[in-house]
Amino acid sequence: MSADRGGPAQPILIVNGLRKYFPLRGPLGTIDAHVQAVDGIGFDVRKGETLGVVGESGCGKSTTARLLMRLIEPDAGEVIFDGDPIGHRGISIRELRRNMQMVFQDSYASLNPRHTATEEIVFGLRVHGMGSKQAREQAHASLRLVGLEPGQFGDRYPHEMSGGQRQRVNIARGIALNPRVLILDESVSALDKSVQAQVLNLLADLKDRLNLTYVFISHDLNVVHHVSDRVLVMYLGKVVEIGPVERIYGDAAHPYTRALFASRLSMDPALRVGAAPLSGDPPNPVRPPSGCRFRTRCSLATQACAASEPLLREIAPGHQAACHALTGEMADAA
């Protein structure tokens, strides 16, 4: 593992003004419009924490993960890894990827169908210059760490394993390079509940043993609650709220966060949800509303919300939200 250079107080990741628009091409190849997938977001990830990222489809959480890994190039903004910017002035993308790994949602699609579990892990190690014998040993050690006996599972192909076992292989590949940050993009969402619990326990163990920092992306609010120290809420490419998990889950400030939590299923037939907190679907990220992007579905919206975009403001120590109603810019709301 590479050294912790910035000290414990230095955030492992600082994200500033990150933006990514995907062009939509018309039939003649001209750019007709842009999907505003991620639009100027900023946050930090502290060493050793689990930052949960929640939001609905199209809010930009997966794009954010890919931007952090530099699998796609940002249009603007910077990512600082433990004090070093990414690029020619700081650490290389290759170095970044050695220190930061990602586990995808689809355990089947993210494994090469022609590679055995061991081969899949060895590939990444060889990329970083490890000899083939040593790489095999390291791969087996990683498999053991995720609870798969290399003698039994090392030579299996993806189709010869269950969903939970495949996701363990994906995690083993992620930790084999001894990264400091693991990005988990909906990594347990596709698993059956009984298997999901096993994998969540495994992730908790690995985090302690390997001193990892997690960025845990999920649409499942219960899972995020279970694993996170802090939670980031996204809506249509913007960060709407970020704060400690107990604040976000206990005393959410942003109307969207509150509606999202009120949409959770009760888990108790005696306490069924009586009315849906929001109506309709999230708007199209190609043409987001002006000002506050949530205003079209917000019960508190006024003209001020259409006129200007609310910025993230500190409303309690470590707890920020972006809403005019909270910062007094809207007269006497709620």
């Binding site: 609905e56 009984s194 969540l200 326990n201 499942d220 279970h226 999202l260 888990m267 037939p269 849906a276």
Partner: protein, 339 residues
Amino acid sequence: MPRDPLVEVRDLSVRFVNRDIDLTVVDDVSFRLDAGEVLCFLGESGSGKTVTMRALLRLLPPHARIGGSIRLAGHDVTAMSERQLEAVRGPVGAMIFQEPMTALDPVFTIGTQIAETIVAHEAVSWAQARARALELLEMVQIPSAARRLDAYPHELSGGLRQRAMIALALSCKPALLLADEPTTALDATVQIQILLLIRSLQKELGMATIFVTHDIGVACEVADRIAVMYAGRFVETGPVADIVASPAHPYTAGLLRSTVSASTRGERLASIPGGPPDLTDMPPGCAFGPRCVSHGAACDAGVPPLIPFAGGRASRCLLTKEVVHAGQGGGSVSREAHM
């Protein structure tokens, strides 16, 4: 009780047979459902919940072999010809799917598809059918419904598309609605809207509904009774509130315990070890045996029967009787048996 139930299934089994394999995916499934009731099949992937539901309308691939009897509003579904089945699909039982984009025809407008279904099943004019289609879109709470009649499926958002599919399913006023994970692909804020819609329509129209889901939360929101499925069999059946409060089968109990919720924060989750069995290589006795904490020698002797007990419940576990005694001692709900 002389009245026939709307759905009566006895000893249903479904096998998938081809040159190489003969795989039993559903086995020993019996249940009945009255008009206006909501039954939920709860299970993980591969548990046979979707196949069981599709068997009711014989919407299965050609290599599926159905055994046992299925009676739907007095019709014997297993004995019907393909043509007779067409008369049942729609007016008696209609189905909604997880992915409306694949269930709706992309080249026709929503209005046309609904009107066409109505015309195919009832002797009405095209204009009357269009008018009915508009009513249906309003009933499923699609905003500016008149304009949406002429929309193609890809022009609608995910939530609206799911509503349009529900409208299509309701077009023949079915007595039974079959819903196959209709909210799984939707976002949380949209999912709850659709669940509430289905719940209110079901009450309003007095439809019986069978809901297939892997999510206990969804079952808690909509179901009257649930049937927990594991490896192709019902392992526990009963009223949803009772099962969630005091599960009888070790699998149900494990599933409930391993479900993440607000109260599990920071704790280790009590997970069920291992994974579901391979259907080609099933354990000799209880299918859940190898993963069960209370596994004993008797469990491997044969597949345990579904043992009924108080409160209209049943559990496929040899320990069931003890659970009943313990439960009654604790003063749990005792209601008239449902069956």
